[in-house]
């Protein structure tokens, strides 16, 4: 797999007058191009339920500025977004709503568990709290912390972008190979 702009070594680029390489062409493979563009245009759907939201807001706002990382736009419809951020405590009563939002997202789709509650249930080891969202939906990146520092959030985002950029399958694609082939 080559990166964007990799040129086949054998062929010489066409030259313009004066021998300079002619502008306006690019050879690559479709998959890396797709992965590259997906990586830098992550549309997010924040599913925000609890105190972690504060840290999510501060990461989104200008001080830490998530848009520097190509993940600028929150989408308020799951159908238009690529990454589901599950931010905060998920209780059993709410789990059907979360699963439904996830199922409404278009493929390919990724999931980030933001904070200890979303990752493993946190200290709410009781009758009401779902012990980690990966019990009901596949999850790609876990960001620990109660709440995580914005630096940790950005590292989680960068890890996810690396994963997307490598063209790796999301957990969802790994678990649904047939559907993933349809989605390209």
């Amino acid at each position: 797999m080559g990166g964007v702009g990799d040129r086949p070594p054998a062929s010489e680029p066409p030259r313009g007058p004066g021998g300079a390489p002619q502008a306006g062409w690019l050879t690559t493979k479709l998959d890396p191009l797709l992965a590259w563009s997906r990586r830098w245009s992550v549309f997010q759907y924040p599913y925000v339920t609890a105190c972690c939201a504060m840290e999510f807001m501060s990461t989104m706002c200008s001080h830490f500025d998530m848009s520097r990382f190509g993940a600028e736009i929150p989408r308020w419809s799951p159908r238009q977004s690529d990454v589901l951020w599950v931010v905060g405590t998920i209780v059993h009563k709410q789990a059907p709503a979360l699963k439904r939002v996830y199922e409404q997202m278009c493929e390919p789709k990724w999931v980030v568990a933001f904070g200890t509650c979303a990752s493993v249930g946190g200290f709410y080891d009781n009758y009401s709290v779902l012990q980690g969202i990966d019990k009901i939906i596949p999850c790609d990146v876990y960001i620990p912390g109660c709440p995580p520092r914005p630096e940790a959030v950005l590292e989680g985002l960068m890890l996810l972008q690396e994963k997307i950029g490598r063209g790796e399958l999301s957990r969802w694609q790994q678990e649904h190979p047939a559907a993933a082939r349809r989605a390209g």
Binding site: K93, P96, D125, N126, Y127, Q131, D134, K135, I136
Partner: protein, 173 residues
């Protein structure tokens, strides 16, 4: 602080007050369940007491005690700023208590919460349904005998999720 009110209640309902105590200026009266509604109505409506503000209603589980539950009511008088706590014991085998929703509409949701968490039936309540938990939930989670790690999920759990930890061993009380 509100000893005056305790005395008024004692004088009006000598048979209803089972016990009174005070802790750092907060007075408590424990009343018989049969007289609970009348005592509270008196506290609210009589000009001498005028405890017109319904602050809180909740429940406590004492698993080894008889009666097992306490419904705990906190009242305040706006005019005199006096406060009073009213407790009523609820036995486990007849787990019911008169409703206060006719006196204060605000009591409606508090009683639904006590019903949701402890299973106390509020007799005469207009709409006694669960308020926080979902209708499919079995049992009452804040009772002390509800197993600590019993969960009642609404969506199926993934197969590859780590298994539930074994229940904690029973500790002697």
């Amino acid at each position: 602080m509100s000893q005056r009110i305790v005395d008024l209640v004692r004088a009006r309902f000598p048979q209803a007050v089972l016990e009174t105590h005070a802790f750092r200026g907060d007075d408590t009266i424990v009343v018989r369940r049969e007289d609970y509604l009348e005592v509270v109505r008196f506290l609210k409506d009589s000009p001498g007491t005028a405890m017109d503000f319904f602050v809180d209603l909740t429940c406590v589980d004492w698993p080894e005690r008889k009666p097992r539950f306490d419904v705990v009511l906190h009242l305040k008088a706006w005019r005199s700023s006096e406060r009073l706590r009213v407790k009523v014991g609820i036995p486990e085998d007849d787990c019911s208590c008169p409703t206060l929703s006719g006196l204060w509409p605000a009591a409606n949701w508090f009683e639904r919460e006590a019903f949701d968490m402890y299973g106390v039936k509020f007799v005469g309540h207009p709409d006694l349904r669960r308020i926080l938990l979902y209708d499919e939930f079995q049992g009452y989670p804040l009772r002390k005998d509800y197993p600590k790690d019993r969960r009642q999920p609404l969506v199926p759990m993934c197969d590859d999720a780590p298994p539930q930890p074994p229940p904690f061993p029973e500790r002697p009380h």
